[in-house]
């Protein structure tokens, strides 16, 4: 079981991450990835010129690691990658990349899904969208909380 959890400030290439994740893999049959892109429009349809993701050094990495470890324990996966960007992000750029490898596709799908649901609500990031009419803070929406509740029998 290999866990690779990284918080980076440089551009994140999902294809390059997938390539590295697949290299030399022959024992497992299924790899699921999630790529989250910075949207060009906010939830209310307003234009987003830039996104800033603040984090708390130490705490944020730990929250990412905790989520990845919980997924590794809960699902029959063989490897997990979780890479998250911090700092200023332009629409279209990748914010987060998650990959899960497993012998059976169900475990790979569920692990990636679970990691994203927890990252979206519990990861220690503070997100601001800047647009023509100023900047505003983004908080988890009800949809994110509802998604997380699906796993509630084991989430803390």
């Amino acid at each position: 079981m290999a866990l690779d959890v990284r918080l980076i400030r440089t551009p994140l290439s999902a294809p390059a991450e997938l390539e590295a994740f697949l290299a030399g893999r022959a024992a497992e049959g299924a790899v699921v990835t999630f790529t989250g892109l910075a949207r060009g429009l906010g939830k209310d349809g307003s234009i987003v010129q830039a996104l800033t993701l603040d984090w708390y050094p130490g705490m944020t990495e730990r929250s990412m690691q905790d989520i990845a470890e919980a997924a590794a324990e809960r699902f029959a996966v063989t490897d997990l990658v979780v890479v998250h960007r911090g700092g200023d992000i332009i629409p279209g750029e990748t914010i987060v990349f998650v990959a899960a490898a497993a012998a059976h596709r169900r475990a790979a799908f569920e692990a990636a899904d679970y990691i994203m649901d927890r990252l979206k609500t519990e990861a220690a990031f503070w997100k601001r969208e800047a647009g023509p009419s100023g900047a505003r803070w983004i908080e988890p929406v009800e949809e994110d909380r509802a998604a997380l509740a699906r796993w509630k029998d084991e989430t803390p």
């Binding site: 603040d54 708390y56 730990r62 990861a123 990031f125 503070w126 997100k127 803070w137």
Partner: protein, 82 residues
């Protein structure tokens, strides 16, 4: 003087950090928050909100938790999530 870190909306209002004199035996988070908030209206408005949480040594804690001067103390608004 112990450095207190601010993140999210709190950091936006008060800057990335502040300083507070803490007794060697430490203080409850509730009292640290009260003393920081007592400084001015901006600090009060930024800190005295139920959704502003605190952490001690990177662990999110409740209001009763004790924080000593050698520990890392932070206040922050609700996480946005990743």
């Amino acid at each position: 003087m112990t450095r207190i870190l601010y993140f999210g909306r709190v950091g936006e209002r008060l800057g990335p950090d502040g300083r507070l004199e803490l007794p060697v035996g430490g203080l409850a988070v509730r009292e640290i928050r009260r003393r920081l908030a007592a400084r001015d209206e901006v600090a009060a408005d930024a800190l005295l909100r139920p959704d502003v949480r605190a952490s001690v040594d990177l662990v999110v804690v409740g209001e009763d938790a004790l924080a000593r001067p050698d520990q890392e103390i932070a206040f922050f608004s609700l996480f946005s999530g990743g």
